[in-house]
Amino acid sequence: MRALTWTGVNRLSVEDVPEPQLLNDHDVILRVTRTTTCGSDLHLLSGYIPFMRAGDVIGHEFMGEVVEVGSGVRHRRVGDRVVVASFVSCGNCWYCRHELYSLCDNSNPNPGITEGLWGQSIGGCVGYSHAVGGYAGSHAEYVRVPFADVGSFVVPDGVPDDRALFASDAASTAFTGVDLGGVQPGDTVAVWGAGAVGQMVARISALVGAERVFVVDRLPERLEQARTHAGAETIDYSTTDVAAELRERTGGRGPDVCIEAVGMEAHSPGPQGVYDQVKQQLRLQTDRPTAVREAVMACRKSGSVFTLGVFAAMVDKFPLGAVMNKGLTLRGAQVHGPRYIPRLLEWMERGELVTEHLATHVMPLEDAPRGYELFKEKQDGCVRAVFVP
């Protein structure tokens, strides 16, 4: 079959690879019908997550049609049209039973790597390096889905592919941040990053009752989407002081909940951005936490800051004093997909959550390297490149 493989830092290739097989009783094999780029893929591409092997198939946000079913699968049938959670979850460990699916104890076959990095191993993730399992990714004609009864969801007939696709990861990641960040009716929410995840945070915050939502970015086309499709107020950080703007617009309080949807390669104009770039390149820190710092400083006293962007390990100059003295709640998580995908599909079916506008570039899998270039360089207004194998 054809698949997109990582062949080295900033190098991708579409090549012939063997088809996946059923390996465990709870597996299904999916014929992929839609699979999309994600901002977190860029960290793999750029070599910031050093657990990629040349030849690895990438991609973790996808949907498709079930074509083969393992003997232990109870709720999926050949022919089902499903969207799949990016993290793999067994459904039976303590974490899965408490709906903390990305923390699954049993789905990362390489626990020795992340235990050393973080003190505990988290769950596995499709197509996202050997640190989280080394699963072959979804940018391919076929993909293996382990524990399919837990992580795959039948898409209602009325939900088109380019909407359902984003329930897989972007919207469910956003919902994770909104829910665990504690957004309540009447809250003011600020979101850093107007990519697909940031826009979904804005829309889902509104759906759960937030009264005002601000989205911070610098790309005009993304800010326009956040205004149009999520009803958010927007702040261009390249032209204004974000914290001052937020103070001014929130009666001096700051937002109740600040959600960071940027991650370890945050862009920042000015000296802070240069400082973080240099330290990261010298490997004196692994991540650039610009947006998280700003969120901590902007957040109202006793508010909540949620890190939703992907971080790998260590950061520098973190305002821990502000966290402690302002009484903030600081929390983060990878996506707990199965906890949120059913409700997302309901919203999508009712037309309350639309995502088609995120798929700015839909193209054949053969063009995937070009799709990643557009996405990485943010050319031609690219928000997400979607591949059709």
Partner: protein
């Protein structure tokens, strides 16, 4: 000669992963960072299994396979967390022994909780060039079921 060099690099990857667990830097590899090797080898290594203790009355096969060299302890976990399954070698143990014990505990937990041990190969992949970095990662990945802070 080239094959031997490749093997050495792969072994280096496995060794590197093992050593990383013992690096004494703040926040990095905190397993037994203050223990001498003999003390570290004697520690109980434990997983918490979401099951009643009686499900572990007969040891799961991966642990049973280690035989009398290993002693085990089964105790209810606090709250709703299930049962703590701990094991250690009765006598001196090498790094390889402890690696096998880690893998056995993880597989025992999987067997009780989900009924099977996750399999990964064969898996689709493209061309894997034979490079030192690639061999290093291959070695680390091959060792990762036996390594970690457990």
């Amino acid at each position: 000669m080239i094959g031997r060099a490749a093997g050495l690099t792969s072994n280096a990857g496995a060794a590197l992963l093992g050593r990383l667990q013992h690096v004494r830097l703040p926040g990095v590899g905190t397993a037994s960072a203050k223990d001498d090797p003999a003390t570290a080898a004697r520690r109980w290594r434990a997983v918490t299994v979401l099951a009643e203790p009686d499900r572990l009355a007969d040891l799961p096969s991966p642990l049973a396979a280690l035989g009398d060299r290993v002693e085990t302890r089964v105790t209810p976990a606090p709250g709703d967390k299930g049962t703590e399954l701990a094991a250690r070698f009765r006598g001196p143990a090498t790094d390889d022994d402890i690696g096998r014990l880690r893998q056995a505990l993880r597989e025992a937990k999987q067997l009780v909780e989900v009924g099977e041990v996750l399999r990964m190969d064969p898996r689709p992949h493209g061309e894997r060039p034979d490079t030192p970095g690639g061999r290093l990662l291959d070695g680390a990945v091959a060792a990762s079921r036996r390594e970690g802070l457990l």
